[in-house]
């Protein structure tokens, strides 16, 4: 495609749009570091009076954020690890093995993909409460240990591995696990990493499910902790403390984004349309 002339003119709207996109984030940072922010009404504050960390200390003390971090990180790692494990095993079977009932299993996977958690949370909740799992890590993790979308996504990626290579390894008597580990996963890395990152972002930020299955601080995850922190502040809103709390919550995802964005681009680009 040949580029239109005067392409550089597009920098004007692009910079403007970028500023609009970054404004909420910048405001969050300024408020989080500015000790005076809550007191300044009616003034444009795009630079803090002083950069200090007092808000972070105050926010950290007002809620057990340490515990929330542990819960969030444990839950997210648990879900993502289990999901990649169960999905890659299932996707391998569906992509490379022959067995009776394969079409039914594939149909079930597609069906499950169409059903959002937000529509079936009542029976899910009842199952967990029957098991006495309310306020446990199991309740936070196990409902998402298997994912139809994960199976579907990895199946699409696995299909791109040349079949002759898989058959050659089968001929050598390699077990499916060996083939999966030594051939399939290394060759589909962008897809696997993309799935892992998208899942991490989603489950780290997920408020709906933890809201249903936990009601004590001991098992509260960060987004839920944030919402409690907001609810605690009645009347006079200390936005500086809240933005410090938000920034603490967001930071791990920003770091992850910085580390993974190269893979993410490759992954979404190559598999985006099929996901």
């Amino acid at each position: 495609m040949n580029a239109p002339r005067k392409l550089w003119l597009w920098h004007v709207p692009l910079i403007l749009l970028s500023a609009i996109m970054l404004l909420p984030l910048w405001w969050m940072v300024v408020a989080a570091f500015d000790p005076m922010h809550a007191l300044i009404g009616g003034h444009l504050t795009l630079w803090p009076v002083t950069w200090n960390l007092k808000n972070f200390v105050a926010a950290w003390r007002s809620q057990p954020f340490g515990r929330y971090y542990v819960n969030s990180i444990a839950t997210t790692i648990g879900i993502v690890t289990l999901q990649i494990l169960t999905s890659s095993l299932a996707a391998y079977a569906l992509a490379f093995l022959t067995f009776r009932g394969k079409r039914i299993i594939w149909g079930m996977t597609l069906l499950a993909m169409m059903i959002p958690v937000q529509a079936i949370f009542i029976p899910d909740y009842l199952i967990l409460s029957q098991l006495n799992w309310i306020n446990t890590y199991q309740a936070l993790i196990l409902p998402f240990a298997a994912s139809a979308f994960g199976i579907f996504w990895l199946h699409q990626a696995f299909r791109n591995v040349p079949r002759a290579l898989v058959e050659a390894m089968m001929m050598d008597g390699a077990s499916p696990l060996t083939i999966l580990w030594q051939l399939i996963l290394p060759n589909t890395r962008p897809a696997v990493i993309t799935l892992a990152v998208l899942n991490t972002v989603f489950h780290y930020g997920y408020l709906f499910w933890p809201l249903l299955v936990t009601n004590t601080a001991a098992y509260r995850v960060l987004p839920l902790g944030l919402s409690y922190f907001v609810a605690q502040q009645s009347g006079f809103m200390q936005w500086n403390l809240m933005m410090a709390a938000v920034l603490m919550t967001v930071l791990p995802m920003m770091v992850l984004f910085a580390l993974a964005q190269r893979y993410l681009r490759a992954g979404v680009m190559h598999y985006g349309i099929r996901g």
Binding site: M21, T86, A90, T98, I122, A146, R163, P176, S227, L256
Partner: protein, 313 residues
């Protein structure tokens, strides 16, 4: 694509009989062992609850009695004639439509522009994608701050223009618009990446051939490029609808469905019926209708893709 049973024909250079033996051994046990963990999880937490929700929709239950009571189609009658349900449905449709109408052209335009060898395009892409990694609850709180009536940045900016900004989240007219704005801000970069992937899979030879035949840039876009992008556009459109239909987190932290019921969407309605009023029957009925709606949209997607010549898979 190679079918599994044609393995033998496709691999004449290897010892066919040992492959058959291998296949035989693995056919019975291995596939099921590998599928077992995923199938267990999906059965217990997705498929069984889907059956259960249909069952529960024909009962009345407040969770206090040990068992639900059979109610026939009474719940369907009362939900489908209830003001609250249609009110929530209306908010959901407005919300989904507004997000889709803004986000699809905006993200397509951004992708189109950032597909050119423009200096700094990687930085722009990163900036637009950045909000996507924010937890929705965090984005919701940041926007609540920005939109707070007296000390929020938006109303201060409007004040400089001598406009008195409304109490955004406290206003029946503006609250849903604020929720729509957060959602667009959060997801526009994600859809931009989707469209970029579509644009990069275009076949350049087709455009060149059309240009050689003297087609101008607009006819080239309309007749050559756009048809190739139809699967991506349909996919993105359906994804926006499904994503917005499920929205909950940002609504919970920003408005909790209010003021009055101005931001009560279908999912929020189900949540309130089930977990605040303990009206399991009606919540389940609304859930069934919700699944049917999402299912219908997904089917339309696949149909649409096939009709327009996409591979739909």
């Amino acid at each position: 694509m190679l079918k599994e049973h044609s393995v033998r024909e496709r691999t004449p250079w290897i010892n066919a009989s040992s492959l058959v033996r291998y296949a035989h051994r693995t056919r019975l046990v291995t596939p099921w062992l590998m599928l077992a963990p995923a199938l267990l999880g999906l059965s217990v937490f997705v498929l069984l609850p889907t059956v259960a929700i249909v069952g529960l929709s024909f009962t009345n239950w407040n969770l206090m009695t040990p068992h639900p009571h059979w109610a026939g189609v009474a719940n369907y009658r009362s939900v489908l004639t209830s003001f609250d349900f249609w009110n929530a449905m209306q908010h959901t449709v407005i919300y989904a439509a507004a997000v889709a109408i803004v986000i699809l052209p905006a993200s397509f335009g951004l992708a189109w522009l950032l597909n050119y060898p423009l200096r700094g395009r990687h930085v722009y892409r990163m900036i637009f994608f950045l909000p996507y990694v924010m937890p929705l609850a965090a984005s919701g709180i940041v926007f609540s701050g920005l939109l707070s009536p007296s000390s929020g940045l938006i109303n201060i900016l409007l004040g400089h223009l001598h406009i008195t900004g409304p109490n955004w989240l406290g206003s029946v007219h503006w609250a849903l618009i604020a929720v729509i704005a957060v959602t667009i801000w959060e997801y526009v970069g994600f859809y931009m990446l989707l469209f970029l992937s579509g644009l990069q899979q275009l076949n350049p030879a087709l455009s060149e051939a059309a240009a050689m035949d003297g087609a101008g840039s607009w006819p080239r876009f309309w007749h050559v490029i756009l048809p190739q992008l139809i699967p991506t556009i349909v996919f993105a459109g359906v994804m926006v609808v499904i994503q917005t239909f499920q929205a909950f987190d940002q609504i919970y932290v920003m408005t909790a469905g209010g003021p009055v019921t101005a931001t009560t969407t279908l999912v929020y309605y189900i949540y309130e019926q089930g977990f605040q009023f303990f009206n399991v029957g009606q919540a389940s009925t609304a859930s069934v209708l919700f699944v049917m709606l999402v299912g219908a949209i997904t089917v339309i997607q696949w149909r649409g893709m096939h009709r327009w010549g996409g591979d739909g898979s």
